[in-house]
Assembly symmetry: C2
């Protein structure tokens, strides 16, 4: 039996990366008149990576990185009207409805009948809270943990806080780096459900995963059966 089944949120419960990708394309279009043959998403990714230690994850951090990238790539020629437009992109992202992934509503409702469910999500407090509120799923989750990063230490702290043994903890998510490997490393169980779009920052070298023991599912609708098997074992 599991004392807690925890879910990642972005691209596990609902679409997220697609929103960032679409906004990157809007930025590339906005900057196209200034640039010639520049890979805007690649350069933006460099800025984002450099900014994570300062600004963390989420829409505001992404927006500050878009503004910096726009200034750098245009060598300062970007107009302030265009910078204002970039801030509008952020508001548009925030206004987007939460789009649940296929099968999520049914699986979450089904598992909530038998298990204590939790969300463990990384990112901006307000962004994540807002998405959860709009998802219609909040009532199914006994606990919500919004964290600055998902490391072994993060999971250890959460398990200690809820007084749950790692062996009785199951984490479900689309990121090997954040949802699977650190959980397996501390003795928990993890289910990896890949999403077609995964942010480059969440990718891991396959060499790191070969010894890790975790379950991989093609679709979240297979989760209740897997949980049933694991709890019978």
């Amino acid at each position: 039996m599991f004392d807690i089944i925890a879910f990642d949120a972005d691209d596990t419960l609902w679409q997220n990366e697609s929103l960032y990708s679409a906004t990157q394309m809007r930025l590339a279009e906005l900057l196209a008149p200034y640039l010639d043959g520049v890979d805007v998403p690649a350069r933006l990714y460099e800025t984002e990576t450099r900014n994570i230690p300062y600004f963390g994850y989420g829409i505001k951090s992404f927006t500050l990185s878009m503004i910096e990238t726009a200034i750098t790539l245009t060598e300062g020629r970007v107009t302030s009207a265009d910078i204002r437009q970039i801030i509008t992109f952020a508001r548009d992202m925030i206004d987007m409805p939460t789009q649940l992934l296929d099968g999520v509503a049914e699986v979450v409702a089904q598992l909530a009948a038998s298990y204590t469910l939790m969300v463990i999500t990384k990112g901006d407090l307000l962004d994540q809270q807002r998405k959860l509120d709009r998802s219609g799923l909040a009532e199914y989750f006994a606990h919500i943990e919004i964290v600055a990063d998902k490391t072994e230490k993060t999971y250890r702290t959460i398990l200690a806080h809820y007084k749950v043994d790692a062996a009785r903890f199951l984490m479900v998510g689309n990121s090997l780096k954040s949802d699977v490997l650190p959980v397996v490393a501390i003795g928990g169980q993890a289910v990896y459900i890949p999403h077609t779009l995964t942010w480059e920052h969440e990718r891991v070298d396959p060499a790191y995963t070969q010894d890790a023991r975790y379950y991989e599912l093609a679709h979240i609708s297979e989760l209740p059966d897997l949980v049933k098997k694991l709890t019978k074992g």
Copy 2:
């Protein structure tokens, strides 16, 4: 006896508003060549207030508001070099050491010997976590709650989560609006320790406070004595 004594963080445990004020002055100086007789802090405050529902609290939100204000007040004449400078202000704020208020280190260490202490702070996850890590106080707090806003509902949720009766909960902070009134409203006890600088957004109309029963101290060093009196009563 109190099951939990909780502290607000910004301007209760450490300096915060002074950092925002100093940065506002840097923005006013940066924009001075473009403007004539404009009250930059007042106009920035308007933008911040409008942006809170979208961007929430913290340095990133403040920075996006500074950028928007700069573009609006200069009617688009602000250069992208100056906008980049505003993003540098944000990095400088993030890099600032956490400056504890006078007496805090002693009081927190003393109360931690007898009580379960908690931090309940509003704001950006990464900002607040970073300040706490740098404060040297983290070891004294059994629980850290970083929340998007501090309403009656927020406090009710936290107390339910920790299974603490409101009557056995004491909150200490510098904001009547966020730390005192909602706690008193749900049956908890609260200590108000005003700070010389309080953000306009946290001010309340005195009419709202006249019926509320809370304690007011001039300085945090008086807290242990008050706690002693309250627990004897």
